[in-house]
């Protein structure tokens, strides 16, 4: 898809919770063999504090994005959060976020759900709204406190974090713009969580080839065919990162060298932040990219779907990098906790009658 008028990124921001648990601590707790998790290429993951959730992390990422955007927050006319860990089953997260950013009430907004891809759907919707001239700026947030059943292999990677982008019409204040996008969606039963179920289930053999790899490869190839581009035309590639291994494997399948993947591969240090996974990777790449460089971004969501975007970096990006905390700074700012604190923070301990 190509918008009628170019739409770009005006500001970006991330929220990476301060607390970390090492995967070796999780493995030891549940009696997995030492280095059982080694193949996942994730050494530690973020843990949201007891007072953090999708709403608060989304707010913090959005605040950082607005600082970098250098616009009056009241100019934002749409706000979307993509999440699969809504604090309320019914009651939007974005109303709290928008109110706390001071951008209510004349605004469009919704919480979107499509596993880890919902925030990407918000990107597509915002590009359309801005391109058509219906709105000027949109705030797109991906935020999750990912659930994992205690003792499940998912617990090694499911983490917490958020990323946010202020999108607007391509112009003087945009630091990158969307050259085009390509979406690929099918009904694939690789991962789900039923109503009232506290933890998700994964469809084992569906997780890899029929879901993650098939959709990401189809979306990326579709985009490159449509735009007449090859992997060598891109300076960076950022894929959804459920673990550290899958993005490296999909890059080989698509013909991208490792050095174009590593700058945006963040999951090995913080785990899988679900709706923020690929988007925090994009934030990290924007913080080192130079004007004129081209980025391939491919978020993926179970169920399943992937969107491939070609993003071209523009002048003025370097001046915005240090207006808010960078991904690198946020990764380095950490406090390690043990499994007892992790269990408390994740609400895994049931209290009785008090």
């Amino acid at each position: 898809m190509r918008p009628a008028r170019d739409v770009g990124i005006v500001g970006w921001g991330a929220c990476i919770p301060k607390f970390r648990i090492k995967c070796s601590e999780i493995g030891k707790t549940w009696g997995f063999p030492p280095e059982y998790h080694g193949g996942l290429i994730v050494s530690e993951k973020t843990v949201a504090n007891i007072d953090e959730d999708t709403t608060t992390m989304g707010w913090e990422a959005a605040k950082n994005a607005l600082v970098r955007a250098k616009i009056n927050p009241e100019e934002v006319e749409a706000i979307y959060v993509g999440t699969e860990s809504k604090p309320y089953a019914v009651k939007p997260s974005i109303t709290v976020i928008a109110e706390a950013l001071g951008i209510t009430p004349k605004i469009l907004g919704a919480d979107l759900e499509f596993a880890c891809r919902a925030a990407s759907e918000a990107l597509e919707a915002s590009i359309g709204l801005i391109s058509s001239g219906m709105i000027k700026y949109s705030l797109v947030i991906g935020s999750d406190t990912a659930q994992a059943s205690p003792g499940d292999v998912l617990e090694f990677t499911a983490s917490s974090g958020a990323a946010a982008f202020v999108l607007g019409p391509r112009g003087e204040n945009t630091v990158a713009y969307f050259e085009g996008s390509y979406s690929y969606i099918t009904d694939t039963p690789d991962f789900w969580r039923r109503q009232l179920a506290p933890y998700p289930m994964h469809g084992e053999q569906f997780t890899g080839d029929p879901a993650y790899f098939a959709h990401i490869i189809a979306a990326a190839k579709g985009l490159m065919n449509k735009l007449g581009l090859r992997p060598s035309d891109f300076d960076y590639a950022v894929f959804h990162q459920p673990n550290g291994r899958f993005p490296l494997k999909v890059s080989v399948k698509l013909g991208f060298p490792k050095e174009k993947i590593l700058p945006g591969l963040i999951t090995p240090m913080i785990g899988n932040t679900y709706n923020a996974s690929a988007l925090i990777g994009l934030c990290a790449v924007l913080e080192e990219a130079k004007p004129g460089q081209r980025i391939l971004l491919v978020p993926f969501g179970s169920g399943a779907g992937a969107d491939a975007y070609s993003v071209i970096v523009e002048d003025g990006i370097e001046e915005k990098v240090h207006l808010a905390p960078t991904v690198k700074e946020l990764i380095e700012d950490k406090i390690y906790i043990n499994y007892t604190y992790y269990a408390k923070f994740r609400g895994l301990i049931s209290k009785f009658s008090f």
């Binding site: 504090n49 007072d51 959730d53 709403t55 109110e99 706390a100 408390k344």
Partner: protein
């Protein structure tokens, strides 16, 4: 025993609790947080609303280990008097810092966090806390 959060009160205090919105006396200039309708310095009833910066430093603090019902998972809670750069002093919780690492004079900034939850079916109350810069 369930903790009860007053839904109307949470709604009424949204601007103050989400945005650090204070009232400022347009006669003597005193900043009131939480917002007051009447200036306690000069008795003026003509006050206007203003968002505070959210940037400040810890003037003093205390650590609460024995907490109110419904707050056990948040314990220990660090309460601090934070002096904002506007000069106003406000009472708030600190977060993302271990109690032993809290220092007087520590620079802090405002963040939106959960304050409490009315068990697992009631309202979630959000508000401003402060974390180290």
């Amino acid at each position: 025993m369930s903790m009860k959060i007053s839904v109307p009160r949470v709604w009424r205090e949204i601007k103050a609790h989400y945005l650090l919105e204070a009232t400022v006396c347009n006669k003597c200039g005193k900043i009131h947080y939480p917002p007051r309708p009447i200036c306690d310095n000069c008795g003026n009833r003509n006050l206007f609303r203003r968002k505070l910066s959210g940037e400040g430093e810890v003037l003093t603090y205390t650590i609460q280990y024995i907490v109110l019902e419904g707050y056990r998972e948040y314990a220990p809670i660090v309460f601090a008097i934070v002096k904002l750069k506007e000069g106003v002093k406000i009472l708030a919780q600190l977060t993302d810092v271990e109690p032993e690492n809290v220092k007087i004079g520590m620079r802090v900034k405002a963040v939106l966090r959960k304050i409490c939850e009315d068990e697992n079916i009631g309202l979630i109350k959000y508000g401003i806390k402060f974390k180290p810069v």
